[in-house]
């Protein structure tokens, strides 16, 4: 089966970060992904092909999933000629910054915690392989769907892909996902007590647990704040966790 050029480029984009480096970050991934198009356009002149490929070795870093949108946009621009390709590259820097921020917030701070928290909740509800199946299928159904959709929109609509992504209201979705994550964490905390059979255990065990929970929490906070002082508000989540455990124990 021979894949179409657009599909080849998308499949190559799944290796977007294979050679991620501190010098120019994802530049090789970009050049590798777009190469089939450049080869098709400039096959008759190998020197020119090499020049155009080197043109794509610019410092580049964005969210690896929403990078598909920029890749689609760059393919769209390069297909219209070198000058347009250069304009696309000039714009791609700004798009990379924008989608880096939006994508990281949505995927790393929203989708990943939500799906993982739900999978862990499923595990503590009833330990089985369903937790794994849920984690893998739910995350990839959403992430691959979005990745391919933004690629196609970039490919066909060029800079119009911004409107597409904007119409999805990703920050709002992220807020909703945070609520789901928080709810599943609360349920998980509750399930933990049963899972570890903490009810009715010896009196010595319980204070030790509470102490360790507090120590763990404070260590975590100090690490995050570079050893700085803790603020009162940051102690609230740990406090509620400990209060919940206390109420369940005594």
């Amino acid at each position: 089966m021979k894949l179409r050029l657009e599909q080849q480029i998308f499949l190559r984009s799944l290796c977007w970060q294979t050679s991620w480096n501190f010098a120019r970050m994802q530049c090789l991934g970009l050049a590798y992904a777009i190469y089939p198009l450049l080869e098709k356009l400039y096959a008759k002149n190998p020197e020119h092909l090499a020049r155009r490929t080197r043109r794509y070795l610019v410092c580049f870093n964005t969210n690896p999933y929403l990078a598909a949108a920029i890749l689609g946009f760059l393919v769209h621009m390069e297909s219209q000629g070198e000058e347009m390709g250069d304009q696309g590259l000039a714009l791609s820097g700004s798009l990379a910054g924008l989608y880096g921020a939006v994508g990281d917030a949505f995927f790393w701070n929203g989708l990943k915690p939500m799906v993982s928290a739900l999978a862990v909740m499923i595990f503590f509800l009833k330990p089985s392989l369903w937790a794994l199946v849920f984690l893998f299928s739910a995350y990839n159904f959403i992430h691959l769907g979005m990745r391919y959709t933004v690629y196609l929109h970039g490919l066909h609509r060029g800079i119009g892909v911004i409107e597409t992504i904007n119409s999805w209201h990703l920050p709002l979705l992220r807020n909703i996902m945070e609520f789901v994550t928080t709810a599943s964490l609360a349920v998980t905390a509750f399930l933990l007590v049963d899972f570890f059979a903490l009810r009715g255990t010896a009196a010595r065990t319980i204070p030790l647990f509470l102490l360790l929970a507090l120590i763990g929490w404070f260590s975590w906070q100090r690490k995050n704040r570079g050893g700085g002082q803790l603020r009162f508000l940051e102690v609230i989540p740990a406090g509620s966790l400990v209060v919940l455990l206390c109420l369940l124990f005594f």
Binding site: A31, Y65, A119, T182, A189, G216
Partner: protein, 250 residues
């Protein structure tokens, strides 16, 4: 080659054959490192999440259930660390692979020689967590090494070998894979040696507590995630749902 360790349940010194452990370390290194590529190098489809990685390593060592338990504990513990920009978080995939493989191997020892699954899982986590800093440094090292590929690609492009030049991008996969294989081998062997030593050093009064101490990992993970969200509304949701569950359980 044999290793002596003190069995808590049996109450005497037990001798372990190390050859199967070395074979297991090789198996986890070779196959686990393929799974670890999903973390950065290819796809990024959650195959590298601790829940899946630890279960996979546990299955390789003959006990996926303890791998799943460790995966669920580590999943929440490391979920707060996110790869934003050029920040390199702890490589929880490698840690999960080591944890799942080691715990499964030790749980399979004859005559209930070691402690129960939850205690064993806790011991294993104690031996692998100090490697967290090492995995971050290793990841950085690979990314520094990947920068050489840019020069290699440009040199080939200047030489007119365009098609082979862009494939240098894929060599990054070898860097990630090689580093993962080496690190996994080292960590699995060290953990397999350290856990029996830890069992020997732990005071007798602490034995009944060790199975419940595993709770600390998901608890700290929950606290870290709530901290990351950093919104008072999330805390209210957490506290509200916890309260509802508490009332329901009474």
């Amino acid at each position: 080659m044999f290793l002596a360790f003190y069995s808590v349940k049996v109450g005497k010194i037990v001798w372990l054959d190390l050859i199967p452990f070395i074979w297991l370390a090789a198996k986890i290194s070779i196959f686990g490192a393929v799974l670890a590529l999903d973390r950065t190098a290819i796809f990024q489809g959650m195959l590298s999440r601790p829940l899946i990685a630890a279960t996979f390593a546990g299955a390789l060592a003959g006990n996926w259930e303890i791998g799943l338990l460790l995966g669920a504990s580590l999943e929440l513990y490391f979920l707060g660390e996110i790869p934003v920009g050029s920040n390199i978080p702890t490589d929880d995939t490698l840690l999960a692979l080591v944890a799942g493989g080691t715990a499964a191997a030790l749980s399979g020892l004859p005559a209930n020689a070691l402690v129960d699954d939850k205690s064993l899982a806790f011991m294993v986590l104690l031996t692998i967590l100090p490697w967290a800093g090492f995995t971050r440094k290793l990841d950085s090292w690979v990314r520094v090494r990947n920068a050489r590929l840019i020069d290699d690609m440009e040199t080939r492009l200047l030489a007119g070998e365009n098609a082979s030049a862009v494939n240098f991008h894929l060599y990054g996969m070898l860097n990630f894979y090689g580093a993962a294989v080496g690190a996994l081998g080292l960590m699995v062997v060290s953990s397999l040696l350290l856990v029996p030593l830890l069992l020997l050093l732990l005071p007798a009064w602490a034995w009944p507590l060790t199975d419940r101490l595993l709770l600390v990992f998901p608890a700290v993970g929950i606290a870290g995630l709530l901290y990351n969200m950093n919104q008072k509304r999330q805390l209210a949701v957490f506290a509200g749902i916890s309260l509802l569950l508490l009332v329901y359980s009474l």
